[in-house]
Amino acid sequence: MSNGQDTKTFFLDDDEIPFEEGQTIIQAALTAGKYIPHLCYHPEFKPHGSCKLCTVRIDSRTVATEDGQTVKIPGRAAASCTTPAQAGQHVESEVPELLDLRRTLVQMLLVEGNHYCPSCEKSGKCMLQGLAYDLGVMSPHFPQYFSKREVDATHPDILLDFNRCILCELCVRASAEVDKKGVFSLSGRGNTKHLICNSESGELGDTNLAATDKAANVCPVGVILHKRHGFEVPYGQRRFDTAPISDNAVQYAPVKEQV
């Protein structure tokens, strides 16, 4: 794989992954076509490190005890989207412990919002749903929260359904960093935290969001929806009908190859 003496690499599970100085673990992994589950990470924005789905273990050790047994000392857990890659690191991702924790995180997100896939037009291309499929989430496990949230249909082209918001801040970052509009923000703390629109009325229709803005096209779940475009792709042909989310690592890679 290495084409020069100075190519730095680290190990992700059993694979040797090359990286450039300054790349995070997830950037290097995705560039190499190795998928690490994630929700709030997006190659075009600054890492956020909030969803914790991309958590990996770094440099676990196995030591021999006095009575001849071996004990595994787990390495530190870190969000791979905010942790710089370092040469020689041993990173664990696809291990039962982390898969269980990721499954639990997804289950908590699913019961916190009102995620009714059968009536959601994002179904089949929703990252939360795709991740849940991939992690084998068969049950909610937790009691349903049944949060009461409104929808905002005031914008001529965009519908906001806050019931499905996972607070990843991708729209917030896209609007601030790319569109330079600052249309979205998060407000409140703890379980009152919610997405708001920066206009005097608080309504999306009174902001200058355009349907072509990055912020209007970055939502990983079914919050920011384009009106008159629902259910355009038939059941069976949608993205996660045809391939699981983990098959699309290169799609999220920071350096896009020809896909």
Partner: protein, 186 residues
């Protein structure tokens, strides 16, 4: 020991099914296993089910398959009857698992819903109150919030292939797994 005993005949597992606050779509999808139902009835016999019209569970059912969430008092009674009589309970379909589409009324006040549904122009609101009509709960709940559920089979509905894979795994003593293409929430 009786040396003349031939191969023991395996007892067929008793399977009960019902639909609570569901649309019977999961039961229809169950029938999408098509001719494989002939293989299935070699292994199981149906007890209480819309397919047999038996009204109550036998006390020794092996598997109970429940479609739909819990939206009224009768649903609660039926669910408890299944839990009491079935060794294994399966929540089948989106509504059984998270309330599904019926649970979208949970953000509304039940009085407002009844008033809107039973308003008659010029004659006020007449909500039916016959004692035979089960009382609505103020919220629709998934099954696992009322009784212990052993297995969950997601989908709206789960496809015939998913139901077949799930049941054959379970009958063979394996933990049911679906995998890509069979696991669906819609």
């Amino acid at each position: 020991m009786n040396a003349t005993a031939s191969t023991p005949v395996k007892r067929k597992l008793k399977v009960a099914t019902t639909s609570l606050a569901g649309c019977f779509g999961c039961h229809m999808s169950f029938l999408d296993i098509d001719e494989r139902i002939l293989d299935l009835v070699e292994l199981i016999e149906f007890d209480r089910s819309p397919l047999t019209d038996i009204k109550h569970c036998s006390p020794n059912c092996d598997i109970g398959i429940i479609e739909g969430g819990v939206c009224n008092a009768e649903n609660v009674h039926v669910l408890h009857e299944f839990r009491k009589n079935c060794k294994i309970l399966i929540a089948m379909g989106a509504c059984a698992i998270n309330g599904g589409l019926p649970a979208q009324r949970n953000s509304l006040d039940i009085r407002d819903i009844l008033a809107a549904v039973y308003a008659q122009p010029g004659r006020g609101v007449h909500v039916p109150n016959d004692p035979e009509i089960p009382l609505l709960l103020n919220e629709v709940h998934p099954l696992h919030e009322v009784v212990k559920i052993d297995y969950f089979l997601p989908g709206c509905p789960p496809s015939g292939d998913a139901i077949w894979k799930f049941l054959t795994d379970l009958l063979a003593g394996r933990t049911p797994t679906l995998g890509h293409g069979l696991i669906h929430y819609d």
